[in-house]
Amino acid sequence: MADLRELYQELILEHSKAPRNYREIAGADRKAEGYNPLCGDHFTVYVRTRGDSIDDIAFQGSGCAISKASASMMTQSLKGKTKKEAKKLFERFHQTVIGEKDGDSADLGKLSVFAGVAEFPTRVKCATLAWHTLEAALEGRQEQISTE
């Protein structure tokens, strides 16, 4: 049986209760909306870029503990990173939550707490919603992103 504690790690619960960078960015030059119609999770991700870098990143919205913590920790991990680094981190994060490259999540830093999601396939979409939304924001796509 998959262990619930592997999914609901302390750090995840803590971020879901007190999300970081939970705000609108007034001068955001990139913004996208993400929606998971299955559970009703709904987030807006704001980004202010400077050159090729993510100068500031924040989010707002509502969702389950996994999606909210993921959004919160994503914003923490990406501030100051280049777009290319962000894309690479998303790829690594995605591989981890779907259970690929098992046991090699060291380079993810704190984000490795999401490795437990791999045991709960129905929750992968929760963990990746904010990331997909960010990707759309950085690519300048205007339509609402759906994980269904």
């Binding site: 998959a2 609901y8 119609p37 559970c39 009703g40 969702g63 503990a65 909210k68 709960f120």
Partner: protein, 426 residues
């Protein structure tokens, strides 16, 4: 209208047998093979019956027997098996007719499910009766399947869709509903039991009010037919829709009941084989009802399975089932609403078989995952009723919905599961 029988509570009695409602639940459970499987090494506690019900062995056996003994295409062949298959299919129609107390078997049309039944009425009756500036009235309690077909129709015709409001308990406000009816109202569509909240709608009153203005009424009975005795003649509804798979029958089969005079006057929904009397390239004459609405080879094994399901429900007795679920709902409401931090969404006086709730600080999806690890299957989300969720200011709810095989023991397991959720999130 059909009211849920309120039987004296059996609380305090030994769980074994649980026959206070006239239903021997332990005996019923033995009829459902899936209840014996384990989920995450736990006994399965299946509380997602409003999404789909499990199937008794009798249904699966009937389908197997059909394919092993009688399978052929219906209505056309002159050979023995064609005759057998046709007889089985038409016998299923008669079983549905008597189950709903329709006057004639031709008033029973086999479709894929309640969704297709509603689309059929919207596109056939609706398109031929609704014009620009006309109005269609639904309620705030509807499932997307009783909203979107009407939106499509209104868009096609330039008609208006009005939504009758509900109060904070999730009850239809009848006076407001009545006020929405006018000379341009061409049809009313209302659910019998709300899938998201469990509200038992006063459909008899709705039908009376609409009929006073000569407006026909479609009742979406997807959640009612598995839970209550339904009598379409007594209700006097014009159309009634339900799904086989929520009624302990197979997926892919459902029923539209329609008054014969309405069905006869309606244009076909789909064209094809079986729905015609004669075809030339110049002109086609349509078949009589019900065949006019059953183009193509229908779901024959599905009809046979549905017949077995309805016969099974008849053996248990719909009054007994209603009483049993009412008892479960009372028990579940009593124990769950006293858990600190839990709010029950949908507190109508008349309810059937569905308990929706939210938990402070915990998203329903997280509740669902944690309960799943305990082997407990509930539904979390918007239950295909997004406008209704908005009305109650929530994105989603957790929903436990009951069936003939559920026990108080299982509701107690649900309560222990909710305690576990609180533990994880403490």
């Amino acid at each position: 209208m059909t009211k849920v029988l309120r039987m004296p509570s059996s609380q305090g009695r030994a769980a074994v047998g649980e026959i206070a409602s006239g239903l021997d639940v332990e005996q019923v459970r033995r009829d459902f093979p899936i209840l014996y499987r384990k989920v995450h090494d736990r006994d399965l506690v299946y509380l997602d019956n409003a999404a789909t019900s499990q199937k008794p062995g009798a249904v699966m056996e009937a389908i197997t027997r059909y394919y092993e003994q009688d399978n052929s295409n219906i209505h056309r062949g002159v050979h023995y098996l064609a005759e057998r298959a046709t007889a089985e299919f038409e016998a299923a129609r008669q079983t549905v007719q008597s189950f709903l107390n329709a006057r004639r078997p031709e008033e029973i049309i086999f479709v894929r499910g309640a969704t297709e039944a509603i689309n059929l009425v919207a596109q056939s009756y609706g398109r031929s009766h609704v014009s620009a500036g006309d109005e269609v009235v639904i309620t705030a309690l509807e499932h997307h399947s009783n909203i979107v077909p009407w939106q499509i129709l209104c868009e096609q015709k330039g008609a208006k869709l009005w939504v009758a409001p509900i109060n904070d308990d999730g009850e239809l406000i009848l006076e407001e509903f009545d006020r929405l009816l006018g000379p341009r109202t061409k049809i009313v569509a209302v659910s019998h039991v709300s899938n998201a909240l469990g509200t038992l709608n006063p459909v008899a009153a709705v039908i009376r009010m609409a009929h006073a203005r000569n407006i026909p009424v479609l009742v979406d009975g997807a959640q009612a037919v598995p839970r209550l005795p339904v009598d379409v003649a007594k209700l006097d509804c014009d159309f009634y829709a339900f799904s086989g798979h929520k009624t302990y029958g197979p997926t892919g089969i459902g029923v539209l009941y329609g008054k014969s005079n309405l069905l006869e006057a309606m244009p076909p929904y789909q064209g094809g084989g079986d729905m015609i009397s004669s075809v030339t390239f110049e002109k086609t004459t349509y078949n009589k009802i019900p065949h006019k609405f059953e183009a193509g080879t229908p779901d024959m094994s599905g009809a046979v399975g549905l017949k077995a399901a309805l016969e099974y429900l008849n053996r248990l007795g719909m009054n007994n089932i209603a009483a049993h679920e009412s008892e479960l709902l009372d028990h579940a409401t009593a124990v769950i609403s006293t858990i600190p931090g839990i709010r029950v969404v949908g507190t109508a006086k008349e309810k059937a078989g569905v308990l929706s709730f939210v938990m402070e600080g915990v998203h329903p999806h997280d509740i669902g995952t944690i309960l799943d690890q305990e082997g407990i299957a509930i539904r979390t989300g918007h239950h295909c009723a997004q406008p209704l969720m908005e009305r109650f200011g929530v994105d989603a709810t957790a929903r436990a919905s009951f069936g003939v095989y559920n026990t108080k023991r299982e509701i107690d397991a649900l309560v222990r599961g909710i305690e576990k959720v609180k533990e994880v999130f403490s």
